[in-house]
Amino acid sequence: MQTASLLLEIGRYYLMAGGVVAAAFLVIGIDRVEPSARGSYVFRPLLIPGICLIWPLVLYRWLKLERGEEDAR
């Protein structure tokens, strides 16, 4: 019971952190690292679930692209 509650609590905070990352990325980051997204706003809400689920990977890629460690796409 306690383990289950703890797991769910971790999951809840994980998704909340994902929400924060999603807000930051969709407002600031996406235009900086993804040229095709510039001027496209309607599709962005579609990305929120994905960012919430894999936000550590999103942060990793965002950082990598910001540093220019990969060719501009």
């Binding site: 383990t3 289950a4 997204a37 309607v42 599709f43 994905g50 894999i54 890629r61």
Partner: protein, 355 residues
């Protein structure tokens, strides 16, 4: 990619694909929920909620099975390729159907106690050390989470943003999801009263997915062996490996330097490959740096033009340059280093499947 993103890319074919998919899913659910009960054992009636739960669960399982068969089928027979073009919509729909199944489970088995239903789901059975009575729900949760991640990252943006290697690796976890689903069914539904039809369907699905992947693997291994043999045979005859097809942009060339300091320009144009000497007949200009227009290469120095298939300048001009024979083995370009007499016609190599 330089196009702007849209929420969902639909065209006539995709709308048709999605419509057929929706109709098939609706039909399956209708038959399972409305027609199925008339065939059930009257001594063991099933509650409506459990029936719907099984309908959506089995539907998601079958959809996942079909999804995993599309890839190998398309590799075995190109006629299945249309199924591949819109597989992501199929996947998103599967995640949705699986979520409905999970919701029925939660609102039926875990809905009538003061305990939070999610806590109850995770804590009601924790006997992970045994096979019979194993908490198979956990396997379903893992599979559902994977399906959610895959559905949520199916937009073109994700492929571009994550990069092909990471995106591909992420989406290969579909196999982990399938394994979890198979175990979820085997340790769950199949542990109940014997149902020969359902057991056969699950077994046949697993055999089909495994068999198709095995057959495709063997076919590709055979093809690769054949390609290696053909390449080795040509190399024995003195042909040289000029590089990979992907190295050459459309309407451009790759310049290969041969042993005798002779340079050959291999052009990719109109879905074909042709090779000519890199030296223009006029003043040895670098033809490989020119661009292809209408099957002709224009020398970047003084504008002399040559047909790529025969190395001849278009009439009324009479200049001729050497041509070379090429072969495409898989995606590897092989070049016969023996120059043919200037103006000799060589059929361009069709790129076809390798493109």
């Amino acid at each position: 990619m330089s196009v702007q993103y849209t929420p969902v890319i639909w065209n006539r074919n995709k709308i048709f694909y999605d419509a057929v998919l929706l109709i098939a899913v609706a039909l399956y659910l209708y038959v399972f929920i409305r027609v199925g009960p008339s065939y059930e054992d009257v001594s063991k009636p099933i509650d409506g909620a459990i029936l719907r739960m099984r309908a959506f669960g089995s539907c998601a399982f079958l959809m996942l099975t079909v999804i995993l068969c599309i890839g190998p089928l398309a590799r075995l027979d190109r006629r299945f390729l249309p199924l591949l073009y819109n597989r992501r919509h199929f996947g998103v729909m599967t995640a949705g159907i699986a979520a409905v199944h999970a919701n029925y489970v939660l609102t039926w088995y875990f809905n009538f106690s003061p305990t939070d239903r999610y806590v109850a789901l995770l804590s009601s059975n924790t006997s992970y050390g045994q096979l019979l009575g194993f908490p198979f729900e956990t396997l379903g949760i893992v599979a559902l989470l994977i399906l959610f991640v895959l559905a949520a990252t199916s937009h073109d943006f994700w492929l571009s943003f994550l990069g092909a290697p990471i995106w591909k690796a992420l989406h290969m976890s579909i196999y982990v999801a399938y394994a979890c689903v198979v175990l979820h069914v085997a340790l769950g539904a199949l542990q109940g009263p014997a149902d020969p039809i359902f057991t056969s369907v699950v077994a046949a699905s697993v055999v089909l997915v495994s068999g198709l992947h095995f057959a495709t693997g063997r076919m590709e291994a055979r093809r690769e062996r054949g390609e290696r043999t053909a390449q080795a045979s040509l190399e024995q005859q003195g042909w040289v490996v000029a590089g990979d097809l992907d190295e050459i942009d459309d309407d451009c060339a790759k310049v290969v330097t041969l042993a005798e300091d002779e340079r050959v320009a291999i052009f990719k144009y109109d879905g074909k490959l042709s090779a000519i000497t890199n030296a223009c007949a006029h003043q040895n200009g670098p033809l490989g740096e020119g661009k292809v227009l209408w099957g002709c290469i224009t020398c970047p120095w003084h504008g002399y033009q040559y047909n790529l298939a025969d190395g001849r300048a278009p009439a009324p001009f009479t200049e001729k340059i050497s041509t070379y024979r090429l072969q495409l083995i898989g995606s590897t370009i092989l070049l016969d280093p023996n120059a043919l007499p200037p103006g000799t016609h060589v059929d361009p190599v069709e790129i076809g499947d390798a493109a």
